[in-house]
Subunit: 424 residues, 2 copies
Amino acid sequence: MMEYTKMNEEQLKAELKKIRRQYERIKGLGLNLDMSRGKPSPQQLSLSEELLKTELTSDDYFNEQGMDCRNYGGLDGVIECKRIFSEILEVNTDNIILGGVSSLNLMYDFISQCMTHGIGDEPWMLQDDVKFICAVPGYDRHFAIAEYFGIEMINVDMTETGPDMDAVEQLVKDSSVKGMFCVPKYSNPTGVTYSDETVRRFAALKPAASDFRVIWDNAYCVHDFNDTPDKLLNIFEVAKEYGSEDLFIEFASTSKITFSGGGISCVAASDRNIKMIRYRMSRQTIGNDKLNQLRHYKFLRDKEGVMRLMKKHARLIVPKFEKVLEVLDRELGDLGVAHWTRPNGGYFISFNATSCSARRVGELCREAGVTLTNVGATFPYNKDPNDRNIRIAPTLPPVHEIEKAAEVLCLCVKMATLEHLLGK
Amino acid sequence: MMEYTKMNEEQLKAELKKIRRQYERIKGLGLNLDMSRGKPSPQQLSLSEELLKTELTSDDYFNEQGMDCRNYGGLDGVIECKRIFSEILEVNTDNIILGGVSSLNLMYDFISQCMTHGIGDEPWMLQDDVKFICAVPGYDRHFAIAEYFGIEMINVDMTETGPDMDAVEQLVKDSSVKGMFCVPKYSNPTGVTYSDETVRRFAALKPAASDFRVIWDNAYCVHDFNDTPDKLLNIFEVAKEYGSEDLFIEFASTSKITFSGGGISCVAASDRNIKMIRYRMSRQTIGNDKLNQLRHYKFLRDKEGVMRLMKKHARLIVPKFEKVLEVLDRELGDLGVAHWTRPNGGYFISFNATSCSARRVGELCREAGVTLTNVGATFPYNKDPNDRNIRIAPTLPPVHEIEKAAEVLCLCVKMATLEHLLGK
């Protein structure tokens, strides 16, 4: 097949006619396919079925420190479960606080408390300007928190090794830049894992603002696809060399390990930060669900248990990613109209149309019964400046639906590109 | 026994000598008793043991609305569990949002969001003065939230029918008064349930501030001791008559129904308020633990199930309250040195020393091995202006310990009073 951009008008018109015919046929099928959400499939959730049967006896709910976990107390979580996160994140248990179901909530709380109480300086709400750096494309829920609090977001491009660190280093010279959102491993949606150099450059940052903090959202820390996973340096270990441990607040959860609707989360931070977070938490709550923490401990036991479970997830997820990539390669590989990522883990494929509007692709897909993540959502304020990024989330539907949905996507990209090249 | 205040100096001295001897003997016993925390006892927690064995099958985790509760979604909770709170609070399920373990956290979130985003007016953080009315004695964790956010607290006395409403009506004329903390049923620590007239006067409030809100913390809504429980009017029903539904935000939880360390909570509010709370929640979190909600539904089923369980709690709690009251009556009944409440439900007895320092009583108790709630904690800023209130929390220890602890308390009250009357 010839690259579209090399076709003359006649060829383009002929191709568009053919593609339109295919598109109309597809539309007639009344499809209803969804590649929009980074949700585990029912099969993945069933991998943790045992957790729903896990009975807690008095041997369990009196934890190893003798605490009756059915009762009040233990604000920052049970040690057994802290230890699992400690092994995974390579952070001391003393530097870990367990949260509820949602690590997003922990991030929100952290930022909310920076708004009302600051982090070693004036409350952000009482400062004139508060800005955050956002690596783009990125995670819409991060952006939604910043937008909710009126924090101005500044885009920085993702590269194959992480955010454009030249730009980051430049931006942090502005003392109104207070933080940055990062998904350092299998980044949402690019799948990029920050290179060692990128992590080192983060650790070496010298922000002008003393109350600058990086939200290090390690959501996909164990979400590998194969036996040669990406390796992310431990940010706290590297930061120690630079004395910059206080700059980083790390988050993780079991949302995509056990249950998205009933997992546990954690925040990890330096001694100083964790002390502050714990104090604030002591005003905020009586604590989180210790019984669910113990159930998770009984089910997962340790990092090894987690990694065993993640292998099972990979067996269910990988065929879906492979199918999407197979379709993209087959349908668009030779056309020079798009490029896309081939992640080694995580939940997404990031797709960039190069010669058409991503919004138009989204519209066409919707009309044909395929729901994509809202085009634009991967950027702050829902504004993709180049209108080209589409986040593909292949985990939820079964493989045959994924295949169909990917085919529809390709068809829509072709059609939108041809329309664009023909100036329609 | 003669009232202390009617004794002459010689009699007082003789009595003090006797009491001191008893106190020294008690001190020698090396007691270690705790009446400080409003915690359920292990026996109470065991009433919900079944909940720890509750297995969720696919019949359960696909809830009646067909949602896979293991996965993301259902931000504001499962309908099955909303319905239980709906029956208890007599509020529509549409006006209920479920939270996590801690209703305190929901209150904190509500206030935090008023600080950063206001509630229909300027964010509280950007307003010059923000004040809250606090009925005293009251709940220390409420006061801690206000203090954390720099909200100025104004004391209003509790009476036998609820807060002094004359004072409340006066105070809300000040537009910097933005809210009030209430525990309307079996109030912490007084055990008072607001009378119908008090509730009506709340509903009829016309605060100067358009962003005034009452935190209606109905923590003890089903925590009755007997078959003639206190009755609290439904605030929303009464408010409807006055068009003041928007003034009230109600909270409840199963912390003292099932597990304090693994229960569920809820917030109930008017259409307008609940819409705002739900929107804010959608920025904050992916939701709460739906599986624990379903477990609770499977265990409790409905209000009747809850009431059955509460009867069992009462059977365990009431003997402890009776024992404390028996000791207080026997030891202090004739001395005219204190008065105390006889609650019909809830978790506390509120004790007021009339002729000595409550702090001194706390010290003496501590030295004798009996821990009371920090004296002063029942007042904002830990300042009991009259230094007389002591919160007695009899639920946690076994009856024989409660009896001993109450005896020590009485002895310490006698000693502190005698010291005081003798000017020492």
